[in-house]
C-alpha cells in the first residue's frame, strides 16, 4: 500500500461545494408552510405510508449529489497512490542522470517468472524514457572492472540501444566502483542536479560499505574551492525486497583413487548453501559429456558448505567433466549449479624393451623382472611392453613407442643410435638404459654418450656374491653397496610411503658402473649408493628424458630386482620417462581473468575455442622467434575451452593437453542482500539515498492515478441522481 498524493491539491477546495446540496437538503426540510388543515387524518395516513420511502429517497439524493461534487473535486485534484519507497514529490530542477545496470552473474538469478536482469533492464528503459527533455543521461553496465562512463548526453537513441543490447555477463560486479565511475562522468555535465539510479540485486558482495560515499566533482572550469556535490542515489531493487536463496558448486578437486582401480578417480565437490534454510537430499551428479558416471545426494546446512565425493573410472587422455547439482525449481541461479574440471588420465604407454641378455632360463633373462614389473596385470593394462632381443631390435622400427628400455645391450650401431637420438630429442620418447656384462663403457660413450645423462667411466665391483658362496659366509653381502641418498622429492618416488622407503634402502648392489662427471651439470642423480656413486641418473635431451641405471635390472649385479621396491620404481620410471607422471591438467581459470596459452615447441596457437565452440579474440605477445608461441585470451564465460594448434607440418588440430576450464567466481553465488540502513548511511544518508522496488516509485508523483475512477464515480452519481429526481 502507499500514500495518497495530489497533483493539483488546489482543486480540493472544490469540496467546499459539498455544502450546496447539504444546504439545499436542509433548506428543503426546514421550509414547510404551516397550514391548519381539517382533513389532517388523511394526510397522516398517507404520509405514514410513504414516510420511509421518502426519507430514503431524500437521503439517497443527498448522498448522490454529494458524491458527484466530491468526485469531481477530487478528480480534478489528481490524486494517485504511491507504492513502497516513494518520496514526497519534491519539485527539483533538471538532473543529469547516470543509469547503472548491474550486469553481473548474480543478475542472471531466476526469480519468479523473470530473470533479475530482464526486470532491471525494463526498469532502466522506462526510467530513461521518463527523463525530462532537459536532463542528460549516461548509461553503463556494471560487470567486472568498470570502464569509464561517457559524459551525460541527450542522445536518447544511442543510450536506448545500449540498454536494449545489454546482456548479463558471468563476471562479478563492484557497484561501488561503478558508482565512483558514474560520479566522475556526472561531473562533466554542467546541469546542476546530479542523480544516480542503479538497477541491481543489492547483493552484499557487490557493495563495499567501507568506501567513501560517491561525490560528484565540480565540472571542469569551475572556480577552485567549489565543493563536490552529493548526488541523489536511487537503488532500484530488481528483487523487490525478496530474499534470494541459492545453492552452488563452489569448488571441485580431482584426485586418483586407487581403490577404484587403474584410472579410478575421486571428484570432491564443495557445495555451498546460500540461504537461511538447510538443504537435505540435494542430488549431485558427475558427468562426462552427456553421460552420468556417478550420482549421489548431499545435505548442506544453512549458510554453510558440504563436500560430496563421487568416484568414477575415467577414460584415458584429457578428460573434461562436470559436477552438477539439481536445478532449483522455483527460483535460483542456474549458472553456478555446476563446475567443470579437466583431468589428465594417463594414457596407455607403449614400451619397447630391448633385451640385451636373453636367456632360456627365465629368471636369468635380463628382461624378466622388467617384463614382470610392466605386465598389464600389474599396471592395470596401462603399459603394453614389447620385448625384443637386441639383435631383433636393431632392425625393428622404433617409431610408435613412448619409452624405449635398453637392458644390458651391446653398444648399438650408428644406424640405431641415430634413430634413437632423433626419437628422444625431437619426438620426446623416453630412454632407459641399464647396464650389465655386455656393456663396455667406452663403446657406449662412443655410440651414444651424448644421450646418456653422464658418460660411463668404469665398472666397479663392490663385492662378489659368488665369493660368498665359495667362502660360505656373508661378508660379501655386508660389503655390498646400498642405496644411500634418495631424492625423495622427485616425482618418481612420490608413491613411496615412509614404510616403503625402508625397503628401498635395503637393496644390495655388488657391481655397478662409475660415471664421469657431467660438465653441464644438467643431470641429476635420483638415487646414489652409500659411497656417493650415482645409481639412477636422469637427464633431458631435447624433448625426451633419459634415465641411466648404473647396475643391472636382473639379479646379475644386484638383488634389487627381487625386492619389493624395484617394481614401483621401475613403473614410475617408465611413467616419468613418458612424461605422464607429471601430466597434470592445466589449472582452471576464473571467468573474467586473462589466460595465457603457450604452444608446444614448434607449433603455433591457431585458435582458442570457447565453450560454445566459437573462437575467442587472441592477443599475441611479441616475443623472440626462438621462444614458444604464446597468446592471451580473456575468459568471458564458464566451461571448457579447447586450443587449436598449428604444427610446423600438417593441419591444425585440437591439442587436448592445452585445454582448460573456466569457473565462476564463487562470491557471486551468495546473493545475500546488503543491509539497507547501512547502505543508505554509506551513500550519504536518507536525504540523498533511497532504496525502492521500482524506479517509478522513487521518482514520486507517479503512482496509480485515481482521478479516472473518481470521475467515473461522479458520472454514475449524476445518472443516479437524475433517475431519482425524475421519479
Amino acid at each position: 500500500m502507499g500514500r495518497l498524493v495530489f497533483a493539483h491539491p488546489a482543486y480540493l477546495w472544490g469540496l467546499a461545494a459539498l455544502a450546496l446540496p447539504i444546504l439545499v437538503h436542509l433548506f428543503n426540510r426546514r421550509r414547510p408552510r404551516p397550514l391548519a388543515f381539517g382533513a389532517i387524518e388523511f394526510v397522516l395516513r398517507s404520509q405514514q405510508r410513504r414516510v420511509r420511502r421518502l426519507r430514503l429517497r431524500q437521503v439517497l439524493l443527498l448522498a448522490l449529489r454529494c458524491l458527484l461534487i466530491a468526485g469531481v473535486a477530487l478528480a480534478l485534484s489528481r490524486p494517485s497512490l504511491e507504492p513502497r519507497g516513494a518520496q514526497a514529490a519534491v519539485s527539483r530542477g533538471p538532473q543529469a542522470t547516470a543509469l547503472i545496470v548491474d550486469a553481473s552473474l548474480s543478475m542472471r538469478y531466476r526469480h519468479g517468472s523473470e530473470v533479475l536482469f530482464a526486470r532491471a533492464k525494463s526498469e532502466a528503459l522506462a526510467a530513461l524514457d521518463r527523463l525530462g527533455p532537459d536532463e542528460p543521461a549516461t548509461v553503463t553496465l556494471c560487470a567486472g572492472n568498470p570502464a569509464p562512463l561517457p559524459a551525460p548526453s541527450f542522445d536518447r537513441v544511442a543510450l536506448r540501444h545500449v540498454l536494449e543490447d545489454a546482456r548479463p555477463t558471468y563476471l562479478g560486479s563492484d557497484l561501488t566502483s561503478c558508482m565512483a565511475a558514474a560520479v566522475r562522468a556526472l561531473g562533466e555535465s554542467p546541469v546542476a542536479g546530479k542523480r544516480i539510479v542503479a538497477f541491481t540485486d543489492l547483493a552484499a558482495h557487490s557493495l563495499r560499505l567501507d568506501a567513501p560515499p560517491p561525490l560528484v566533482p565540480p565540472p571542469p572550469g569551475s572556480p577552485p574551492g567549489t565543493p563536490a556535490v552529493r548526488p541523489s542515489v536511487v537503488l532500484v531493487d530488481a528483487a523487490q525486497g525478496s530474499e534470494l536463496p541459492n545453492a552452488a558448486v563452489v569448488a571441485t578437486a580431482v584426485q586418483p583413487a586407487a581403490s577404484l582401480g587403474a584410472r579410478g578417480y575421486e571428484v570432491i565437490a564443495t557445495i555451498a548453501n546460500h540461504s537461511a534454510a538447510p538443504i537435505s537430499g540435494l542430488p549431485v551428479a558427475l558427468r562426462i559429456g552427456q553421460q552420468t558416471l556417478a550420482k549421489g545426494f548431499v545435505d548442506v546446512p544453512a549458510q554453510g558448505t558440504s563436500k560430496k565425493t563421487l568416484g568414477a573410472v575415467l577414460p584415458p587422455g584429457t578428460v573434461a567433466g562436470r559436477v552438477e547439482i539439481a536445478r532449483a525449481e522455483d527460483q535460483g541461479l542456474d549458472e553456478d549449479d555446476g563446475q567443470d574440471f579437466t583431468v589428465e588420465v594417463p594414457r596407455d604407454l607403449r614400451v619397447l624393451v630391448v633385451d640385451g641378455a636373453p636367456s632360456a632360463l627365465r629368471t636369468r633373462d635380463e628382461a624378466f623382472f622388467v617384463e614382470a614389473a610392466l605386465a598389464p596385470a600389474r599396471t592395470g593394462g596401462r603399459v603394453a611392453p614389447t620385448v625384443l632381443d637386441a639383435e631383433a631390435a636393431l632392425n625393428a622400427p622404433l617409431e610408435g613407442y613412448d619409452v624405449i628400455l635398453l637392458l644390458d645391450v651391446i653398444a648399438p650401431p650408428k644406424s640405431f643410435t641415430d634413430k634413437l637420438r632423433a626419437l628422444v630429442v625431437h619426438r620426446g620418447v623416453g630412454l632407459f638404459v641399464s647396464l650389465g656384462d655386455h656393456v663396455d663403457p667406452d663403446a657406449y660413450n662412443d655410440a651414444f654418450g651424448d644421450l646418456l645423462p653422464r658418460p660411463l667411466h668404469l665398472i666397479k665391483t663392490a663385492a662378489d656374491p659368488a665369493a660368498d658362496q665359495r667362502r660360505g659366509d656373508s661378508s660379501a653381502a655386508d660389503q655390498a653397496a646400498r642405496f644411500g641418498v634418495v631424492e625423495w622429492t622427485h616425482p618418481l618416488f612420490h608413491v613411496f610411503s615412509a614404510a616403503d622407503r625402508e625397503g628401498l634402502l635395503g637393496a644390495r648392489t655388488f657391481k655397478y658402473a662409475l660415471l664421469k662427471p657431467d660438465p653441464s651439470g644438467a643431470s641429476r642423480a635420483l638415487l646414489s649408493y652409500d659411497d656417493g656413486a650415482p645409481a639412477l641418473v636422469e637427464g633431458t635431451r631435447g624433448q625426451g628424458r633419459v634415465l641411466l641405471y648404473t647396475s643391472t635390472v636382473s639379479h646379475a649385479w644386484t638383488d634389487w630386482p627381487v625386492r619389493v621396491s624395484f617394481l614401483p620404481v621401475l613403473q614410475q620410471s617408465v611413467s616419468w620417462l613418458a612424461g605422464s607422471l607429471e601430466e597434470k591438467a592445466p589449472p582452471p581459470s576464473q571467468v573474467g581473468n586473462d589466460r595465457t596459452v603457450i604452444a608446444p615447441q614448434g607449433s603455433r596457437i591457431a585458435a582458442v575455442l570457447g565453450p560454445s565452440g566459437s573462437p575467442l579474440p587472441l592477443r599475441r605477445e611479441k616475443s623472440s622467434p626462438q621462444a614458444q608461441d604464446s597468446v592471451s585470451v580473456q575468459v568471458p564465460e564458464p566451461g571448457l575451452y579447447r586450443v587449436q594448434v598449428q604444427p610446423a607440418t600438417g593441419a591444425a588440430r585440437v591439442e587436448p593437453a592445452l585445454g582448460f576450464v573456466a569457473r565462476l567466481d564463487p562470491k557471486e553465488s551468495d546473493l545475500r542482500r546488503v543491509d539497507e540502513a547501512e547502505l543508505k548511511a554509506q551513500l550519504g544518508g536518507a536525504g540523498s539515498a533511497q532504496v525502492a522496488s521500482s524506479a517509478q516509485a522513487a521518482e514520486g508523483a507517479r503512482g496509480t492515478p485515481l482521478w479516472g475512477s473518481l470521475l467515473l464515480l461522479g458520472v454514475l452519481a449524476l445518472l443516479g441522481e437524475g433517475t431519482l429526481t425524475r421519479r
Binding site: 397550514l35 388543515f37 381539517g38
Partner: protein, 303 residues
C-alpha cells in the same frame, strides 16, 4: 338565481344569509313543475305502516289512487332537530366560508323553512363544552335549544349558530346520543358535519339514531381543498382539533391522500345509505340554496 357562497358571504350576518337561502329555496320550489303539483297536497302525508287507518283521506285516494293520511295539527307538527358540528375541523375553509359557516347558513335556512311550515325546530351545537357555561350538558354538546316553532325561536337558533366557533375535538356521538334522547317521538334529525372523527364513533351513532326510527339526514360538508388537495409546497399540516402536526410534501402524497379520502367517503356513504340514513355530500363551494332545493325536491318526490 343561484346564491353562490362568495356572494352569500358578502351578505353579512347569518340571519340575512339564511333568509336569502330560504327565499331562494322557496323560489325554486315554486318554479319547480313537480313541486307545483305537490303544493296542493302539502297537508297530506303519504300513508306509512303504523299510521292510524282512520286518518286516511279517502277523497285523496279516490283522486290520486294513493293512500294519504291527513296531517293533523299534532301529527304534522314535525320535530326537526338540527345538529351542527362545531368541532375544530369545521373551522377549516379558506374560500368564501368555513364549513361551519356554510353549515350554519344551511341550518339557518332549514330552520326558517321548517318553522314556516309549522314544524318545531331544535338545535344542538356539537362540540366541546363552552367554558363558563352554566348549563349542565353531556359531553359533545356545546349548546342545546329545545323545540319550538316561533320566529323568535328561529332568531335564537340563528343567533346561536352565528356565535358558534369551530374548535375542539369532534365528539358527534355524544351529541347524537343526546339528540336521540331529546327527539323522543319519531322526528327528523339533520346532521351537518364533516364527519372527521378519529374515534370513528359518528357513523355508528348515526346508524343508531336511524335505528330508533328517526328520520336522519346527513349533510356531509367538505371543503373544496379537502376534496382536491391542491397544495404544492412543503407544508406543515397542523390539526385543528388537537396538537398533531406533520410535515409533508403534498405533491408526493396527493395521490395517496385522495385515495384515502375517497375510501373514507365511499365507505361512509355506503354504510349510511345501507342504514337508510339520507346522505348528501356537500362541497362548500356549491350554492347552498341549490343543495337544499335538490334535497327537498328529492324528499318531496319520494313523499
Amino acid at each position: 338565481m343561484t346564491l353562490d357562497p362568495a356572494l352569500l358571504a358578502r351578505l353579512g350576518p347569518l340571519q340575512v344569509r339564511a333568509r336569502k337561502v330560504m327565499e331562494g329555496v322557496l323560489t325554486g320550489l315554486h318554479q319547480s313543475p313537480v313541486h307545483g303539483q305537490s303544493v296542493e297536497f302539502a297537508e297530506h302525508k303519504e300513508y306509512a305502516p303504523g299510521d292510524e287507518i282512520k286518518h286516511i283521506d279517502w277523497r285523496a285516494y279516490a283522486k290520486l289512487d294513493k293512500y294519504y293520511v291527513k296531517r293533523f295539527e299534532m301529527e304534522t307538527n314535525l320535530r326537526a332537530l338540527l345538529v351542527v358540528d362545531a368541532s375544530g375541523s369545521m373551522a377549516y375553509g379558506r374560500g368564501a366560508m368555513t364549513k361551519l359557516q356554510y353549515g350554519s347558513v344551511c341550518a339557518g335556512a332549514l330552520a326558517y323553512l321548517l318553522a314556516r311550515q309549522g314544524d318545531q325546530v331544535g338545535l344542538i351545537v356539537a362540540g366541546d363544552g363552552e367554558p363558563g357555561s352554566t348549563e349542565r350538558l353531556p359531553s359533545g354538546v356545546r349548546s342545546f335549544l329545545p323545540f319550538a316553532a316561533s320566529s323568535a325561536h328561529v332568531q335564537e337558533v340563528l343567533r346561536r349558530l352565528d356565535a358558534a366557533a369551530g374548535r375542539g375535538p369532534t365528539d358527534l356521538s355524544g351529541a347524537l346520543d343526546f339528540a336521540a334522547e331529546k327527539t323522543g317521538r319519531r322526528g327528523m334529525v339533520v346532521v351537518l358535519s364533516d364527519l372527521f372523527d378519529p374515534t370513528e364513533r359518528a357513523v355508528p351513532a348515526l346508524k343508531m339514531l336511524r335505528g330508533r326510527r328517526h328520520d336522519v339526514l346527513l349533510l356531509h360538508l367538505l371543503d373544496r381543498e379537502e376534496l382536491d388537495f391542491p397544495f404544492d409546497d412543503p407544508t406543515r399540516f397542523l390539526s385543528l382539533e388537537d396538537d398533531r402536526q406533520i410535515d409533508a410534501q403534498p405533491r408526493q402524497i396527493r395521490e395517496s391522500y385522495l385515495q384515502e379520502l375517497r375510501g373514507f367517503l365511499e365507505d361512509t356513504k355506503r354504510e349510511l345509505t345501507r342504514a337508510d340514513v339520507e346522505y348528501v355530500q356537500v362541497p362548500t363551494d356549491r350554492a347552498p340554496d341549490r343543495v337544499l332545493l335538490e334535497l327537498l325536491a328529492r324528499r318531496e318526490g319520494s313523499a
